[in-house]
C-alpha cells in the first residue's frame, strides 16, 4: 500500500481555494440520507458534528464522558492563535504558517499547515458569533497576547480558560443540533471497534458504559476526534479518561499511525509529590514571560529558596540561551530542566523540580506602579505590595491553583515546577482531506498527526481542533460522500458487524476471565514508568530496545494477571480502564519502535546519540525528512511506510536559541 497525501496542485496559497472550488458536492436531499459517526466531542468532534448536522447530514456523536461538554479540550488554558493582524504588528497567514512549520522542527506537511493558517481567522469570527466571551479592550474590540516562539501578538484568549469557552461554544452548537434532531448524542459510550465493509469504514461497535451493553452503529463515514495518547505515560496533564482506544482500534483495522513517538513534554507543570500521584497539572506557558527559572548552584542545598542569594543561584536558561532566556521553546526548556535535575541540582523533597521565581517581576512591576503614583524612591515593602497586585491581575487564577495543590504561596516563594507529558503530535496518518488510509475513516484534531510536526507551538492545538471541525471536514467529507449517495444504510446484521462485535465481546470476556491479582491501575503505572524513563525526554538506542522488551513482558503479565472486579453488564469503570490500558500496552511498544528507528533528534524527540557539541537536538534531514507511517500487520508486527516531506516554501535550518 502506498501513501498518497492528495495535496492539490498549484501554488501554496491557492491550494485550498482551488480545492474548495472543484470538490464534489452532495445535494441537500441526499445529505439527509447520509449518516456520519463522530467519535469524541472535544473541539474537533463537537465542531465537526455541529457543522455537518447544520449542512444536513444525519450525525451520531459519541463520548465516554457523562456530557459532551466535559471533553478534555475544556482544560486548555492559554489561548488560540489566528492570523487576524488586529494588532497591526505585521501578522499574516504566511507568518503563522511559517512559525508553525519552523516550530514543528520541519516535520509537518506544509500544505496542511498553510490551510490551517488560512482558516484560522474564520475560527475567531465563528466563535464570537456563538457568544464566546473572549477578552476585550476598553474600546470593545478583541484583545491579544503573545505566546512562545513568535514575534507577533496573535493569541486570542478568555482569561486562563480559553479551551473551556471555545468548547462550550462548540458544545452549544452541538446541543442545538441535538434539539433539532440532526445529531443523536451518545454520552457515556465508548467506541471499541471500527466496522470495515468492502474496504470502507461503515460503522462502529460501541459499549454503553452505564449498562455495559454492546451496540452496533452504521455510518457512511466515521470521524475520529478522540484526542491524543499522552496517558500512555500514566502521569500527564491529560484527563484521567483520555485514551488511545478509538485511534488504536482504527489502527488495527488498517489506519496507519503517523510519527507515534512525537510527544510534547511541557516544561512548566506542578511536580510529582509522591506515589499516590494520579495526574500532573500544567502551569501555563505564559508564566515564563515574567518568571525566572533557576536551581541552586550548590548540590544538596538545604536553605529555603528565599534565603539563597542571587549569586548562588543558577539561572540556567538565561546562562545557556542568552538570546531567548526563559522563553526558549517547550522542548528546549524541558530538556534543560531535566539536565540540571539529573546532575543533582534539583529542588524539593523529590529533587525532581526547579524553581520558577516571580520575585524580580514583582519588584519590577512594583517599581513601575509606584512611579506611576509619583513615588520614585519606593521602599521594598511598597514595591512588593504593588508588584504583587500586578502579578495577580496577570496570573491570579494560576497562582491560586498552584496554592490549592501545593499549599505554598507563589507570591512569597518560587513555584516548584518540572516537565510533564502534555500533548502528542503523532497520531493517525491522514491525507490532505484528513482521511486515514481506510477510506471513509477520518481523523481530526489531536488524533491526527499532520500539523505540528515534532513540536507544537503554544495556542495552536485549539486552532487545529476547530479548523479541522468547522472549516476543513465540511468540505473534504463531501468529496467522499458524493460517491456514496447510492449506498443505502447497511443493516447492522451484516456479517462485518457480527464479526466486529464478536471480537469486542471476546476481548471483554477474556479480560474479565483472567481474575488475576494485580489491578489495572498498577499495570498502567508500571507502563508509565517504562515509557517515561526510556521513551521520555531523552531517548537512546539501548533504553528503547530494553523498553520494547519490558513492554512485551508487561503486556504478557497483564493478560495473565490483571484483576477486574464487578461484572460486564453494569457500570464498571475498572473494566473500561482495563480495555484502555490494554491498548496503551500495544501503543507504547509502537512508540518505542518509532523512537528507535528515528536516529535523529527533532523537536520533542531527543535521541542522545544525535546532539550537537553543546548538547542541543540535531536533526538529520538527509535521512529522516519524512513522516513515519506505521502499518499494523499483526500483533507485535508493523511495517514502516515513509511519506517524504518536501519543503518548497520554508527551507529547513538548524534551530538555535543561543
Amino acid at each position: 500500500m502506498s501513501l498518497e497525501a492528495k495535496i492539490p496542485e498549484g501554488a501554496m496559497a491557492e491550494k485550498w481555494t482551488d480545492y474548495k472550488g472543484h470538490v464534489n458536492l452532495v445535494n441537500p436531499a441526499n445529505k439527509r440520507k447520509l449518516e456520519v459517526i463522530v467519535i469524541g466531542t472535544g473541539l474537533a468532534g463537537a465542531s465537526a458534528a455541529a457543522s455537518l448536522a447544520e449542512m444536513g447530514y444525519s450525525v451520531k456523536a459519541f463520548c465516554f464522558q457523562d456530557s459532551p461538554r466535559r471533553a478534555h479540550s475544556i482544560a486548555a488554558q492559554g489561548g488560540i492563535n489566528a492570523a487576524k493582524n488586529y494588532q497591526n504588528d505585521g501578522d499574516s497567514v504566511f507568518r503563522l504558517f511559517y512559525d508553525t512549520v519552523k516550530g514543528g522542527d520541519y516535520r509537518s506537511r506544509e500544505a496542511n499547515v498553510y490551510r490551517l493558517a488560512e482558516v484560522s481567522a474564520a475560527i475567531i469570527d465563528q466563535c464570537v458569533a456563538q457568544g464566546v466571551p473572549f477578552a476585550r479592550e476598553y474600546g470593545g474590540l478583541l484583545s491579544n497576547r503573545s505566546f512562545g516562539g513568535v514575534q507577533v501578538q496573535r493569541t486570542f484568549y478568555a482569561a486562563g480558560q480559553t479551551g473551556q469557552q471555545l468548547l462550550l461554544g462548540a458544545y452549544s452548537a452541538l446541543e442545538r443540533q441535538v434539539a433539532l434532531g440532526k445529531v443523536e448524542m451518545f454520552s457515556r459510550h465508548e467506541m471499541l471497534d471500527v466496522v470495515v465493509i468492502d474496504g470502507k469504514a461503515r460503522g462502529i461497535i460501541a459499549r454503553d458504559l452505564v449498562s455495559g451493553k454492546i451496540e452496533r452503529h452504521f455510518g457512511h463515514a466515521v470521524l475520529l476526534c478522540s484526542g491524543g495518547y499522552g496517558n500512555v505515560f500514566y502521569l500527564s496533564t491529560n484527563a484521567m479518561g483520555s485514551n488511545v482506544t478509538a485511534a488504536w482500534k482504527a489502527h488495527r483495522k488498517g489506519a496507519f499511525f503517523g510519527n507515534p513517538c512525537f510527544t510534547q513534554i511541557h516544561p512548566t507543570c506542578i511536580p510529582v509529590s509522591g506515589d499516590h500521584q494520579s495526574k500532573l497539572t500544567l502551569m501555563s506557558e505564559s508564566l515564563r514571560n515574567d518568571g525566572r527559572i533557576w536551581v541552586p548552584k550548590k548540590k544538596d542545598e538545604t536553605r529555603k529558596p528565599q534565603d539563597i542569594p542571587d549569586e548562588e543561584r543558577d539561572y540556567y536558561l538565561e546562562r545557556r540561551y542568552p538570546a531567548f532566556g526563559n522563553l526558549v521553546p517547550r522542548d528546549v526548556a524541558s530538556r534543560a530542566a531535566k539536565e540540571r535535575c539529573d546532575e543533582g541540582y534539583g529542588v524539593g523533597t523529590t529533587k525532581m523540580a526547579v524553581y520558577l521565581d516571580f520575585k524580580d517581576a514583582i519588584i519590577r512591576y512594583g517599581k513601575i506602579e509606584a512611579g506611576k503614583a509619583g513615588n520614585h524612591n519606593p521602599d521594598q515593602d511598597t514595591m512588593v505590595t504593588l508588584g504583587k497586585k500586578v502579578v495577580e491581575e496577570k496570573y491570579g487564577n494560576l497562582f491560586e491553583m498552584y496554592e490549592k495543590i501545593t499549599g505554598e504561596n507563589p507570591y512569597n516563594q518560587p513555584m516548584r515546577i518540572y516537565p510533564a507529558v502534555h500533548y502528542t503530535m503523532g497520531g493517525l496518518w491522514v491525507d490532505y482531506e484528513l482521511q486515514t488510509t481506510v477510506p471513509g475513516l477520518y481523523a481530526l484534531g489531536e488524533a491526527n498527526f499532520s500539523d505540528h510536526g515534532a513540536n507544537r507551538l503554544g495556542a495552536s492545538a485549539l486552532m487545529q481542533g476547530l479548523a479541522d471541525g468547522y472549516f476543513v471536514i465540511p468540505y473534504t467529507l463531501g468529496n467522499f460522500l458524493a460517491g456514496e449517495i447510492r449506498t443505502p444504510a447497511i443493516p447492522t446484521s451484516h456479517p462485518a458487524f457480527e464479526e466486529a462485535e464478536n471480537t469486542v465481546r471476546n476481548r471483554i470476556e477474556k479480560l474479565m476471565g483472567i481474575k488475576g491479582t494485580e489491578s489495572v491501575e498498577s499495570f498502567h503505572k508500571r507502563l508509565g514508568k517504562i515509557m517515561w524513563n526510556k521513551c521520555g525526554m531523552a531517548r537512546n538506542e539501548k533504553g528503547l530496545k530494553e523498553a520494547v522488551e519490558e513492554i512485551k513482558a508487561l503486556r504478557k503479565e497483564f493478560w495473565s494477571n490483571v484483576r477486574i472486579p464487578g461484572e460486564i453488564n453494569e457500570f464498571n469503570p475498572e473494566l473500561d480502564k482495563a480495555g484502555r490500558v490494554g491498548d496503551f500496552l500495544e501503543m507504547g511498544e509502537l512508540m518505542c519502535i518509532d523512537a528507535l528507528h528515528r536516529r535523529e533528534s527533532c523537536g520533542g524527540h531527543f535521541r542522545e546519540e544525535s546532539q550537537t557539541d553543546e548538547g542541543e537536538a540535531k536533526r538529520d534531514d538527509a535521512n529522516f525528512s519524512y513522516v513515519a507511517a506505521w502499518e499494523f500487520k499483526s500483533d507485535e508486527n508493523w511495517e514502516l511506510h515513509k511519506e517524504p516531506l518536501d519543503f518548497e516554501i520554508v527551507k529547513p535550518t538548524q534551530r538555535s536559541y543561543k
Binding site: 466563535c127 458569533a129 457568544g131 477578552a135 470593545g140 491553583m401 465540511p474
Partner: protein
C-alpha cells in the same frame, strides 16, 4: 509546605445501581498524606478494595484540575467539601486532620438520579442547554469578529457567567434542588452580548420551561448555590434570569 500523615474514617454512600437502596459504608484509611487530593485517597482506597476482592467505589472524575465539572462528591454536608471555590478534585487533604471522619455522598436531587455509588445522571443539564442555551448561527455565517464591539463591562460579566462548569453543585447545595444558578448563568451570558439579542426572550422562556420539566425545584433564596459554586458564580445572575424571564413573559403575552 510541611506535610503530615493521618488516619481517617470514611463513610461512603454505596449503591449498586439506580434501583438499589444504598447505604453508607465505613472504611478506615491509614497513612494518608496531606499532599494528596481527596480523589487520590479514593484511588488508594479503591486499590485496597480491589486487592481484597471487593468492589471499588464508583465516582465521576476526569480532568482533575477543576475545569471539566465531572467530579461531584457531597463531602461532610457540602458539595465539593469544605474549601470555598474549589472542586472535589482540587480539595487536598490539608483540609483534614488525623482522626477525622469524612462522610461522602452523591449529589442529592430528584433531577440527578444515582447511577452507582457516587455517580449521578446529570443529563438534565444537557437538555436544558438544548432548549435554548445557544446562539443560532451556522458555521460559515459569521461576520468579522471585530465588527461586533462589546462593552468591556458586559463582556467581562458575560465571561464571569460563562465560567460555569456544569457540575451541579448549585443543585446539590439547594434545599429545593433548584437549577436557577445554572440556568441563570447561561441566560445571562448570552443576554449580556449583542450576539444573543435575537433569541433573548425565547431562550429565557424555553430554558426555564425545560428546567421545570426536568424536576428541579424553585429558588430557595438561601444563596447556598453561590456559596458552594466552585467557580463563584454570583446569585446576581439569578436576579438577571428572573428579570429576563419576566420581560420575555410580558412580551410573549402581548403577542
Amino acid at each position: 509546605m510541611e506535610h503530615y500523615h493521618m488516619n481517617l474514617t470514611l463513610k461512603v454512600w454505596r449503591q449498586k445501581d439506580s434501583k438499589a437502596k444504598g447505604n453508607l459504608e465505613t472504611y478506615q484509611v491509614k497513612d494518608v498524606s496531606s499532599e494528596m487530593s481527596i480523589l487520590e485517597v479514593f484511588d488508594v482506597l479503591n486499590e485496597s478494595l480491589i486487592n481484597d476482592g471487593k468492589e471499588p467505589i464508583a465516582f465521576d472524575h476526569d480532568c482533575r484540575e477543576g475545569i471539566c465539572g465531572a467530579c461531584s462528591m457531597y463531602i461532610n454536608g457540602q458539595p465539593h467539601g469544605p474549601w470555598a471555590k474549589t472542586t472535589t478534585c482540587q480539595l487536598h487533604m490539608r483540609a483534614f486532620k488525623d482522626g477525622d471522619t469524612i462522610v461522602v455522598e452523591p449529589w442529592r436531587s430528584r433531577a440527578f438520579p444515582v447511577i452507582k455509588d457516587l455517580v449521578v445522571d446529570r443529563s438534565a443539564f444537557d437538555r436544558i442547554i438544548q432548549a435554548g442555551g445557544y446562539i443560532s448561527v451556522n458555521t460559515g455565517n459569521a461576520v468579522d469578529a471585530n465588527s461586533i464591539p462589546v462593552d468591556k463591562r458586559y463582556a467581562d460579566a458575560a465571561f464571569d457567567a460563562a465560567a460555569c462548569i456544569g457540575c451541579g453543585a448549585c443543585v446539590a447545595a439547594c434545599k429545593n434542588g433548584s437549577a436557577m444558578l445554572f440556568v441563570g448563568a447561561k441566560v445571562s451570558q448570552l443576554a449580556l452580548l449583542p450576539q444573543g439579542e435575537p433569541e433573548r426572550e425565547t431562550r429565557a422562556l424555553n430554558m426555564v420551561a425545560q428546567m421545570d420539566k426536568e424536576g428541579f425545584g424553585s429558588c430557595s433564596n438561601t444563596y447556598a448555590c453561590e456559596a458552594e459554586c466552585p467557580k463563584g458564580i454570583s446569585v446576581a445572575y439569578i436576579a438577571k434570569l428572573n428579570s429576563e424571564y419576566l420581560h420575555a413573559g410580558l412580551n410573549d403575552s402581548d403577542s
